[in-house]
Amino acid sequence: MNWMSFAPELITLTSALWFLLLSMTARSDPKREHVAALVLSALGLAACLASVGAEGYCFAGAYKVDLFSQVFKVLLAAGLFLIVTLCGELSDIEERNRREFYVLLFVCTLAMMLLVGANHFLVVFISLELSSYSLYVLVALRRDRGLGLEAGIKYFLVGIFASGVMIFGLALLYGASGIAALDGMARVLPGIIHQPAVVIGLLLTLSGFFFKLAVFPFHFWAPDAYQGAANQVSAYIATASKVAAIGVLVRVIASAGDGGTYLVHVLAVLSVVSMTVGNLAAIAQQDLKRLLAYSTVAHAGYVLIGVLSMNPAGYSAAVFYAFALLVMKFTAFLVLVEVASDGGNLRVEELAGLHRRSPILALALMVSLFSLAGIPPTVGFTGKFLVFVAAMGEGHFTLVLIAMINVVISLYYYLLVIKAAYLLEPRQELPALRVSPPLKLLSGVLVIAMVAAGFFPNQIIRVAESAAKALL
């Protein structure tokens, strides 16, 4: 085993352990801890970038390092780094819990890195559980105990149900094939995919990932968890956690060959219902985090369109979409965290006057929402376009049409948010927002990144295609 190819995981593990050790000391210095977290997450990102080309197996074949997993690790490490940049003012996490907060953040990222590289049922299950449990606690860490605990418990209850279903699915798959390794499964599965037990097993297994991705009907936790968690934690769930879910979902689906008719039909139904339920429910939301949570449910539906195409174009479209989601959702949350600097939840109407209070944040919010809606020339549009091309290649015309109708529905509530930021005037005059220069710079970079990656997507598409090729 080449330990260099395992460097991203090792650095993330070391970072988590370092914060764990720190949490055992009495004195706390939030500023230094934040800087340390920034440096460590940046190191992790650098390690991920350095080991992008690595390939091989670790731990007796239970863990696989290939371009697909490495690309996702880069996204995860980038997600972690970005979230940590927002943690300068962790006003909604008790000061004495800050170090535990970082421990959980790093452990969760480590678990998700393991998840996207997992090549054995057990590793899939354990890493999924590890990441989920970290998130349950992170959600419950919020200063407002009632809100955080309630959300954490809801999240936990739906989560353990999904885990139970998933392990049952894994057992069925193992029973039908006698194989527990994913790459071995990829050789056997296409031949037995038409057996009912296998289809059911696969669907139950996927339900664990659906839970993570907030696909209907495993989405009920999302609005409450987003609302109940501290803003930075919600941002983390909306970005890095979704990236990991897409990664493992694509890896498992890719092992199913052409997937068989039943699987495709079930995924198509889930996709349509997720998009529609997510978008319709989002219209009624006044709390910005709940709105973004429901929009996540809708986006899970769009991702599924790419995945159910079950062709390389669909898988690479899903990889591209993961990148797009990371950037778009993070930008929206960056604005949310900055505007709600007291750590509270932000209502849509509270964005009133944002264009005067901070033009750069208003612009970032507008571009991110247009991107989430899939308006060109943003990265969100290109993501949807690639997904649609892949699905149309398999003849899913109706599915694409329904998705486009959903895009129109989604635009309505995104426009309401943009309207609040650009048109509404606050009831009383509010002072200009004090955004630190680095965060202003980051907002500008993100705006440019969303437009540039939408207009010049070639390099990212190439990486996504290569990553998808590594799967097959």
């Binding site: 060109p376 020339p377 649609f388 149309m392 694409v400 129109v408 309505y412 426009l415 598409i461």
Partner: protein
């Protein structure tokens, strides 16, 4: 289709001048309003000059696609940055250049959020130019959406009369159109098997079967038709016209609706000619109903902007009728009508904008006798109204005449009924002119100033263009024919 090589990239230069103007405006501090206006005028002026150069430099004897610019953009999907000019898009490029520049000058007195207004205005026009010159389906869709979204803020922030409702309705309607266009485009891409979005490659005979064309055409027709104001999907249009600020109304009715009609032509008709022929009867019916409906509803309006809004529905119906005739004359007339209606409606909105800014009303009963109070401003409106009635000597006459000749030949009943609707249009335009500019004066407005020379410049340009192409229509028809005749000759008989 013949393709000629490009020399200087004039078409990209148009886009670059829009983009450069936009970036400069963004870089100028908010409070330097005069500088922002000047920069806007200079860059929109450059764009106008470039579009005039392209129009004049087009080699009519050679025809085909000229000023071709091709760069591979996304190789794995065969997407290219592919711009070119032919007889169909040249009139629209010229139209956009004129309306863009005059729209900037018309809004010279704007004081609120000037920087944001001009930045969004430039972005909108960038999308319009991009769409007109693009020959790649992917880029056509991208530019389509780029031109739509600034509209929401432009109307919602600077508009009036139920502006938020108008902006939201417009945006959702037009995006609903794109919800049909995108699946249709991707469908054609996958069905061709050529792995390209290149319009020229996809329009070759035999690429799509008749069934594919019959299926895709209505999607494209409806998708783009919503933006073209095709009845019964037009309801966003008068509401949007009324809510928008003057400069935006000019671009909105003058240029944006043409995007819809042009999309039907460039994507629907070019790629699915068999589908076009198959659905032509229905197109003619919708167009005829639109012409009559727009005229009749316009007759009942008391708000000047609503009058123009409904007249646009009627006039765009003429474009639709021309496209539905499946003939050279029909195409010629439709494209000419797109151009002349764009100029006319821009002049109408520009004039109404001036009247509204001074009198603070656009309700016809509250106006009256304006021709004595502000004779110059009134003259511009009356000239445009006369053009709208199809009076000979003004550009609109030719477009309507040619379309109706073609329509009566192909669809005698619908054609004749539509011609009769023109009488209604003339009636409501005359009624508006009579009640607004003649008759008893409203005392409240007696002291108001007439349009100054500076503010009159954009109206002068528009009026000049109306008269120029009215007196010398061959200037335009000769260009359009370089595209329409070869295109119709290349169709399967």
């Amino acid at each position: 289709m013949q393709i000629a090589d490009a020399g200087f990239p004039y078409l990209s230069a148009i886009l670059v001048s829009c983009l450069a103007g936009l970036l400069l405006i963004v870089a100028i501090p908010e409070e330097r309003k005069a500088l922002i206006r000047r920069v806007s005028a200079v860059f929109s002026g450059i764009t106008l000059v470039l579009s005039v150069i392209v129009f004049c430099a087009y080699d009519k004897s050679q025809g085909g696609l000229q000023f071709v610019e091709k760069v591979m953009w996304i190789p794995s999907l065969g997407i290219q940055y592919f711009n070119a000019a032919d007889g169909f898009n040249l009139p629209n490029l010229l139209l956009t250049g004129i309306v863009f520049f005059t729209g900037v000058l018309t809004m010279w007195e704007l004081e609120t959020r000037v920087k944001e207004y001009y930045a969004l205005y430039f972005l909108l026009v960038l999308g319009v130019f991009g769409l007109f010159m693009s020959m790649d389906l992917f880029f056509i869709f991208v530019w389509y959406d780029v031109s739509l979204f600034p509209m929401y803020l432009l109307i919602a922030v600077w508009g009036h009369t139920r502006k938020e409702y108008g902006a939201m309705k417009l945006t959702l309607y037009l995006l609903a159109g794109s919800a049909l266009i995108l699946p249709a485009i991707v469908y054609l891409f996958t069905r061709s098997g050529l792995n390209t979005f290149d319009v020229v490659a996809l329009m070759q005979p035999g690429v799509f079967s008749a069934d594919v064309q019959k299926f895709a055409f209505p999607l494209l027709y409806l998708g783009f038709g919503i933006l073209a104001g095709v009845w019964p999907f037009h309801t966003w249009s008068p509401v949007g016209h009324v809510a928008a600020p003057t400069g935006v109304s000019m671009v909105h009715a003058g240029v944006l609706m043409k995007i819809g009609a042009f999309g039907i032509l460039r994507v629907g008709i070019f790629l699915c000619p068999l589908g076009w022929q198959y659905w032509a009867q229905l197109m003619a019916l919708l167009a005829a109903v639109g012409i009559i409906y727009g005229a009749l509803v316009g007759l009942r309006q008391t708000d000047l902007k609503y009058v123009i809004g409904y007249s646009s529905v009627s006039h765009m119906g003429v474009v639709g009728l021309g496209l539905s005739t499946v003939s050279v004359d029909g195409l010629n007339g439709a494209v000419f009508q797109m151009f002349s209606h764009g100029i006319m409606t821009a002049l109408l909105f520009s004039s109404v904008g001036y009247i509204y800014d001074r009198t603070h009303t656009k309700m016809i009963p509250e106006l009256g006798g304006l021709s004595r109070i502000m004779p110059v401003a009134s003259a511009y409106f009356i000239l445009a109204a006369l053009a709208g009635m199809g009076v000979p000597g003004l550009a609109n006459f030719w477009g309507e005449l040619v379309v109706f000749i073609a329509a009566v030949k192909v669809y005698p009943v619908r054609g004749i009924v539509a011609v009769l609707a023109l009488v209604v249009t003339a009636l409501f335009m005359l009624r508006v002119v009579q009640k607004t500019f003649y008759g008893p004066e409203n005392e409240r407005h007696a002291h108001l100033p007439d349009v100054s020379f500076g503010l009159g410049v954009p109206r002068m340009i528009l009026a000049f263009v109306l008269v120029l192409f009215g007196l010398y229509p061959a200037l335009m028809f000769d260009v359009i024919q370089t595209a329409s005749i070869p295109f119709m000759n290349g169709l399967p008989k």
